[in-house]
Structures are given as C-alpha cells and as structure tokens.
C-alpha cells in the first residue's frame, strides 16, 4: 500500500457522513462508513447494497450520505456500480460530465457480497471496471435479524444456527472471500479492520487510486453489537482482538504479491498471536463453545495461516 497518512494528525478532518443515522450505538460498520466517506473525498459516487447500513442511513426523507448515493437492491450493487462507471466514462468522452475525476465505490455487507451478490461482484471484477468495492463484514444477515451467511464462522450462534443438542451453531466454515476476489487477478485487494484506522484509510486510498487500472476490493471487519452479543463499548476492542489473535489477519494483495501488514506481519509465528479464546470469550455468539470446539477452530486457523504463509512466498 502507498502511505498517504503517516499519523493520525494527517487524517482528513471533514466529516462526510452525517450523524443522526439510525445505526446501532457502537456499530462497527458506522466507524467504517465514517472513514470510507472521509477518505474517498467528495468526488465519488456510492452504490450501496441492501443491508443494515442502507436502511439505517436513508430513512426517507433523510439521508446520512453527503455523496451522490444509489441503492437499488441486495444482490446487484456491483452491477449498478458497473453502470455508473460506464456512464461516467462515456459521458466524459462525450463532454457531458461536469464533475471531473469521479470515483465509483460500492459498499456492501457480507450477505450482499459472499452470498446473493457474489455473481454480480464476479462479473464486475472480470470486466475490469474501475470500481472500489468495499465489503463491511459483520458475519451474518444482521438487517433481517442475525441469520447465518456464507461469512458466519463455524460454531457461531445466529437465529438460523441456534445452539441445540444436535447442532451447535453454524456447521460450516467461513467462506474465503479474499481468495475468490484474488482469483480474479484484480490489481489490489486488502483486508482491514475498524480497530486499525490508519492502516484502513491508507488501504482505502491505495485501492481507490488503483481503480485507474481496474477493480479493487477491501474487506473490512466490522463487529456487530446485537449480532455478536457483546456490550456496545467493546466494538473496537473485539475488532483489535480479532487481528491480534490471528482470527482476522491484515494483509494486502498488490498486483499478485501478498503482504501481511502490522501487526499481522508477525503472526506467521503462532506464539506471537494472542490466544484465540481472548477474542471468542467476549462474544455471546461463542458463549457455548467447549474447549474441544475452540481447539478445532484453532486448528483450522493454523491451517489458514499456513496457507497465508505460502501465499506470501508467491
């Protein structure tokens, strides 16, 4: 990534995401939205998928958005953005675009990205549209009331993966969305966390700049207070622990090279990672986990780190 902001002092001061929206107190996605909007600057069009962010920020006749913003449906934000990008491109050519170098940014949740929106995302990536696609991942369908998604981790409680005697939370592992995106050979894709804002904003800016070459992708980890069942002041703490325990590594895929970012760059050595339990124990959705189940998750995580390690050797 290119470093646009060295310290917090360098960060953009102007707020481009209005308060008064209806996102939950302590919402991780709200922190992400605030920094996405500040970082992309005012000359951008935002296409948003249906989801928590969409419904809580646009209660007619009010909007929290200060950018030109469009929401169409759940599964098609990448397709809508493709149209916006194509329109700007051709209107520029024909001398009918008066806003200069306008960027196009998608904001979608995990449902709109991993599941129902995967096809339109893949199409957008394959066609090489100059669009920054930002996934805010809260690991379930929170807007409809906490149902499991392709992003929900194994054993996590949701309303559709209840903890019973036969099944104990979600049965399957979380989908590797970054792997899917990287397989499209995009110029740039990265993970980021609302606990590591400086890292996140530099990645947003880098990804935005690379849209000159083609599609870019950001996977932002955004804890959810009601969905993950934790006290609302713990959002950043949990997001930080996700990184420190190696559960959500920070890395970037820059033109075919994978690079781990601090602090994840030290975490290939397992002893440098905090015990996973510290992350899990703060969340009600994992309250039922046995030692054995935690060990199983840890094992899977170790395998994932081994895979990441190999990717860094590419």
């Amino acid at each position: 990534m290119k470093v646009y902001y060295k310290t917090l002092k360098d960060l953009p001061r102007e707020e481009l995401f209005a308060p008064g929206h209806r996102m939950c107190a302590g919402c991780g996605a709200a922190i992400a939205m605030r920094w996405i909007t500040k970082t992309i600057g005012p000359n951008a069009v935002i296409a948003n998928a249906t989801g928590c962010v969409e419904v809580t920020t646009t209660p007619y006749p009010e909007t929290a958005w200060m950018h030109p913003y469009i929401h169409v449906a759940f599964e098609n934000s990448a397709a809508v953005a493709s149209g916006v990008e194509a329109a700007i491109k051709t209107l520029k050519k024909k001398g009918r675009w008066d806003a200069g170098d306008t960027k196009v940014v998608v904001i979608a949740g995990d449902g709109g990205t991993y599941d129902i929106g995967l096809q339109s995302l893949s199409g957008m990536l394959e066609r090489r549209h100059g669009i920054l696609y930002i996934l805010y991942d809260n690991e379930a369908y929170m807007n409809t009331g906490i149902q499991r998604s392709g992003s929900t981790p194994k054993y996590a409680w949701t309303t559709t993966t209840p903890v019973g005697t036969a099944l104990r939370g979600k049965v399957q592992w979380k989908k590797d969305i970054m792997g899917i995106v990287m397989a499209h050979r995009v110029p740039y894709a990265a993970t980021a966390s609302v606990a590591y804002i400086l890292d996140m904003v530099n990645k947003i800016k880098t990804a935005l700049d690379y849209t000159e070459e083609g599609p870019t992708f950001l996977h932002i980890f955004a804890p959810c207070v009601p969905g993950w069942r934790y006290p609302e002041n713990k959002t950043v703490e949990i997001a930080r622990l996700a990184v420190e325990t190696g559960y959500f590594p920070l890395y970037e895929w820059d033109h075919g090279k994978l690079k781990l970012n601090p602090p994840s760059n030290n975490h290939l050595d397992k002893s440098k990672r905090k015990p996973l339990k510290e992350y899990l124990k703060l969340q009600g959705r994992f309250a039922h986990l046995t030692e054995q189940e935690i060990a199983e998750i840890e094992k899977e995580l170790d395998a994932y780190w081994e895979y990441l390690g190999k990717l860094t050797q590419l």
């Binding site: 917090l8 002092k9 960060l11 001061r13 707020e15 995401f17 209005a18 308060p19 008064g20 929206h21 209806r22 996102m23 107190a25 302590g26 919402c27 991780g28 709200a30 922190i31 605030r34 920020t57 646009t58 209660p59 007619y60 006749p61 009010e62 909007t63 929290a64 958005w65 200060m66 950018h67 609302v194 804002i197 207070v225 006290p231 609302e232 002041n233 713990k234 959002t235 950043v236 703490e237």
Partner: protein, 103 residues
C-alpha cells in the same frame, strides 16, 4: 404534523438534501453519557478516531492543561452521541468517564 402530499414530493423518492439525518438528534438514545476530563486528556485522538457517530469535535486553539500546552481540545457533540462508550473504552488515560444521564 401534516406531511407533504404525493404531488409535493420529489419524484422517485429521491432525497435531494445530503446529510439530512442531522435533523434527527440521537441524544435520546443514551443511557450513559461520556464526559471528557480534559486534565487527563493527552490528545491521542483515539476517541475522535473511533467514534461511530463522528461526535467527538476537535477544537483548535491554545489550551494549557497541567503545565502542558496543546493546540487542540476534544469535546462531545451531545446532540448525536448515542452513548456507546467506545471512546471511554479506548481512552488510554481513562480521561473519559461514562456517567448516567440525568433522568
């Protein structure tokens, strides 16, 4: 309150006024209220950084606190603060205290 008629609304449910949720003060959401003790504040900016609502306001000026001089000071815009307490949780010097809202 009488709401506008169909013929008085913009077409297609477009909202032409950007940032208009500002009309909706969310102060009423709070049960706990963050209070910044400026004498303990080291200007690390973390509360400003992590506030989901952008309600930590950075004030420019010359501020002398405990013999130190700062060019900024942080205040809370209570119109919108939902009282989540992330600021207090993240504050490294415990300069932010969550106190119950007056009933």
């Amino acid at each position: 309150m009488s709401l506008p008629k169909a013929s008085e609304l913009p077409i297609g449910a477009v909202i032409p006024e950007p940032g208009s949720t500002r009309r909706n003060k969310t102060a009423g959401w709070r049960t706990l209220k963050p209070v910044i003790h400026d004498d303990r504040c080291v200007r690390c900016q973390l509360c400003w950084l992590y506030c989901p609502e952008g309600t930590i306001v950075e004030i420019k000026g010359v501020f002398k606190v405990n013999g130190k001089t700062y060019d900024t000071k942080y205040e809370i815009n209570y119109d919108y603060c939902k009282g989540c307490g992330i600021c207090a949780n993240e504050c490294p010097t415990k300069a932010i205290e969550m106190v119950p809202e007056a009933p």
